[in-house]
Amino acid sequence: MSRILEVENLRVDIPLESGTLHAVRDISFHVDKGETLCIVGESGCGKSLTSLALMGLLPTKAIRTANRLSLGGRDLKTLNETQMADIRGSRMAMIFQEPMTSLNPAYTIGNQLAEAMLRHRKVNPNEARERAIYLLEKVGITAAASRLGQYPHQLSGGLRQRVMIAMALMCGPDMILADEPTTALDVTIQAQILHLLANLQKEFEMGLVLITHDLGIVARVAHRVAVMYAGQIVEEGTVEDIFRRPMHPYTQGLLRCIPIPGKTARGAHLGSIPGMVPSLIGDLKGCAFANRCPHAFSDCNTTDVALRDASGGQRYRCLLSQEAATQNAREAATA
């Protein structure tokens, strides 16, 4: 397996009047060809900023630093805006939750789909058009040819979302970053789109980073999972390990929050994680999860917590020993 994306010590800082907001705090991860990494975590924990940082699309005031950001061996840190725009158009594409952020209301679907390809690949307009139709059909849009002349506002939200997915695939990128790509869609379309992404990914050996709150999606499509909390990765491992043996108390809490068909009694209380995320302005002392953690002890408030290795390449950021964490995981699973 070969690495397609490598990220080391990525930080995103946003200077605000009240201080610097450290939105992404030294995160490191990698994605191999044909691999899907899912990123999950509390709202506001820095998932979207992480993907925007990779794409070079951060808000202007945000400051990105990293020891390493490489795509297919190419160092993204040294690229200028024009070179980065070229990468975005062809090698690494992003799918946003809100399709109108990437569709231009003034141009037809057909023009927008073709444009990316004409700019970055040696094709003629006819070939670009054919590929657009092919991909629109693949994402489940009927009468694709007749849609090419339509404008984004003439399509429903679900259709726009599918157009955007087709657009991301136009140039056959090496890497796709998808931020909640199916949240607004119903489950049958969601399943079809995820199916499609998985197939295309296998076929073209694309790397995929998929950001989602939906643990069902994570379980079914991820190869590996990174769990983020307050700007840090607090746990990382294979999808089996994360679901069967979650080591971090936050991950264990997350898995208790969702109703499991056939297991959770109707109307019974679901698990919850009381309390709130700490402010991301300024430095964090101790474990970021300590104020909400059911297993916290006094050291958790004072000692900085590093990622530690568990077996099988799983890593977790917690002071609890592997034995204690495994014990908690077991109890969480039977609760």
Binding site: G41, F243, L254
Partner: protein, 330 residues
């Protein structure tokens, strides 16, 4: 009102929009709600599920009196909705919408936002407002200190609690929740679902819960209605529907649910990609171009609803696979 009278009932409700497909094209009718009959009884939680664009939100808006139906009847406590004033309807039926970010006015304090319905409908004296609001905030798990806060100072979950408090301040009987948790992460979702459960018990509420998340619907709902292209295609008590889905679309929906079981992959719903155009719906059964079980008759004639059971046991399916005989025998 007898115990049997549904608190809300619709009969063959329709809502037709006229839309223009291209700049110079003629206007065409789009039946967003195309003959919906349903009943909601006190204390029930009716889960409403279906494809995006099938008309769920439009139906919700009609039930809230925010959208006039083109045809059909809406009965509240057995009486036509036209015999109620706007205030009367607002007192009985209140909404909680999906997006806690855009549905709260950023320039108003939380106290103002929650008390708005009281002030609009002049239902409380000035000096009563604050205690009423604090009361409902407490019930919804919002600390008093947020009274003077603005929405941007609250987290997503807290904002959704504000939306719930605003709906409940009118002490409605029926709350229509349109995707109440889909903008929230799972830890906040579980808090909000727990809150809705507690409030229902405490205030004897009735809910209509619109959601794409079938695990949430299965967890919360007592009854489920499945909608496809403007029509209800199946209705049944929750256990029944999940144990024995009958309509092929319901089956496809349930088959598409991604339970959190790693290694199971993404199921292939076998629905095909022939998504219908609501302006030019397929003839016969509107689901036939995607239906794995479609027969010849499905292309020609629209199926009619097959009903069995009554009251809380009411169930219905609209599909040629289920002739009247079979449904009665079952």
């Amino acid at each position: 009102m007898s115990a049997q009278t549904p608190i809300l009932e619709t009969k063959d409700l329709r809502c037709v929009f006229t839309v223009r497909q291209g700049l110079f094209k003629a206007k065409k009718p789009l039946a967003a709600v195309n003959g919906v009959s349903l009943q909601v009884r006190k204390g029930e939680i009716l889960g409403l599920v279906g494809e995006s664009g099938c008309g769920k939100s439009t139906l919700a808006k009609i039930l809230l009196g925010l959208q006039d139906p083109t045809a059909g009847a809406l009965l509240i406590d057995g009486k036509p909705s036209s015999s109620f004033s706007r205030i009367d309807i607002a007192r009985r039926v209140q909404p909680i919408f999906q997006d806690p970010f855009s549905s709260l006015n950023p320039r108003k304090t939380i106290g103002d936002i929650i008390s708005l319905p009281l002030r609009v409908h002049k239902l409380a004296r000035r000096d009563e407002i604050r205690p009423k609001v604090l009361d409902i905030m407490d019930l919804c798990g919002l600390s008093k200190r947020f009274y003077e806060s603005y929405p941007n100072q609250l987290s997503g979950g807290q904002r959704q609690r504000v939306a719930i408090a605003r709906a409940l301040i009118m002490r409605p009987e029926l709350v229509i929740c349109d995707e109440p948790t889909s903008a929230l992460d799972v830890s906040v979702q579980s808090q909000i679902l727990n809150l809705l459960t507690d409030l229902q018990k405490e205030l004897n509420l009735t809910y209509i819960l619109i959601s794409h998340n079938l695990a949430v619907v299965e967890h919360m709902a007592t009854h489920v209605a499945v909608m496809y292209l403007g029509r209800l295609v199946e209705q049944a008590p929750t256990d029944e529907l999940f144990r024995n889905p009958r309509h092929p679309y319901t089956r496809a929906l349930l088959d598409s649910v991604l339970t959190p079981e790693p290694g199971m992959g993404v199921p292939d719903s076998q629905l095909g990609a022939a998504f219908p155009n609501p302006i030019d719906p397929p003839r016969g059964c509107t689901f036939h171009p995607r239906c794995p079980k479609a027969m010849d008759i499905c292309k020609q004639a629209a199926p009619t609803p097959i009903v069995s059971g009554a009251g809380a046991d009411y169930d219905m399916v609209e599909c040629h696979l289920y002739g009247p005989q079979e449904a009665r025998a079952a």
